[in-house]
């Protein structure tokens, strides 16, 4: 028991985590590329044409996984922040920061693919619908977090300030979601809502799951590489980093 605890703290030190991340990253890249390739093949060649939406519905295979990931990553970041604030482990903050750009990227992809879907389906690029609006706000939360961390030069301060913001944001997300939803239903009339998809084909569901897993692996791989850069940027002065790079050069 005692032993295991110590081990955990060992891996929470950047110096020991750096090589681990270096080993994990390629594995997850491979997993991601494989899964996404399978997913793409299935979404174009296996999944049948939707009788109502024609081929346009194929957007779902990137749209939905990206939407899921954007929300999921935010939760994970908040989790890391909570850990960082309670146990004072630098690595947790670094993980949160390493995830942020990828999360923002998925939020952006969700918005982009959503509006490329909305144009043929609803005839307009943008609608102020509950989900769409809360996704937009999520993107703002990501951008706010990244801007805050970037604006603070002192690393320790940036870590903690960012963590506090993330935690406040995560409390706020359900409130945002329900408020937007409720706001919308009140004077909703003309806007089309996305609900025609209840009877989802099994291959479609499978494809979507595979793509989602692929995106998930991609996020981990990206985060691992980014956390490596963050560690090196911060520990540039430390002897272990210099020894490590010195060996390679």
């Amino acid at each position: 028991m005692q032993n295991r605890l110590i081990n955990w703290f060992k891996f929470s030190s950047p110096a020991t985590f750096y090589p681990l991340a270096g080993r994990l990253a390629p594995i997850f890249w491979v997993v991601a590329v494989t899964l996404i390739a399978i997913g793409l093949y299935m979404s174009f060649f296996v999944a049948p044409v939707d009788y109502k939406q024609g081929d346009g519905y194929r957007i779902i295979f990137v749209h939905v996984p990206a939407s899921w990931m954007s929300m999921f990553i935010y939760l994970i970041m908040a989790g890391w922040s909570a850990i960082g604030l309670t146990f004072n482990t630098r690595l947790s903050f670094m993980m949160a920061q390493a995830l942020a750009p990828t999360g923002a990227l998925f939020a952006f992809i969700s918005l982009w693919t959503g509006s490329f879907w909305g144009k043929p389906m609803w005839g307009t690029w943008w609608v102020w619908d509950a989900r769409i609006t809360s996704e937009l706000i999520l993107l703002f939360l990501y951008l706010g977090y990244m801007a805050l961390v970037a604006a603070i030069d002192d690393r320790r301060r940036a870590d903690r300030a960012g963590a506090i913001l993330l935690l406040v944001g995560v409390v706020n997300i359900p409130i945002i979601y329900f408020s937007v939803k409720w706001w919308n239903t009140l004077h909703q009339g003309a806007t089309i809502r996305m609900n025609g998809q209840t009877s989802m084909d099994e291959t479609m569901l499978l494809t979507m799951l595979i793509m989602a897993l692929g995106f998930w692996a991609y996020s981990i791989a990206a985060a691992m590489v980014r956390v490596q850069s963050i560690i090196l940027e911060r520990e540039a002065g430390s002897t272990w980093a210099q020894d490590l790079i010195g060996e390679r050069a």
Partner: protein, 56 residues
């Protein structure tokens, strides 16, 4: 269904390829940027190393 048939999205081509294309672009560019950032960090440390060994 032939390969080309599968890729022809009919009147949805712009939208489907617009979505998949941008997604692919993003997910290709991000790893490249990441690579660049990591290399830059490594080069910086190597430079610091050299500077230090020059001083001694």
């Amino acid at each position: 269904m032939s390969f080309l048939d599968a890729l022809d999205m009919g009147k949805y081509a712009l939208y489907v390829w617009g979505s998949f294309g941008v997604t692919a672009l993003c997910m290709i560019i991000e790893p490249l940027l990441l690579r660049g950032r990591l290399d830059k960090a490594r080069r910086r440390i190597a430079r610091l190393n050299r500077m230090e060994s020059n001083e001694q």
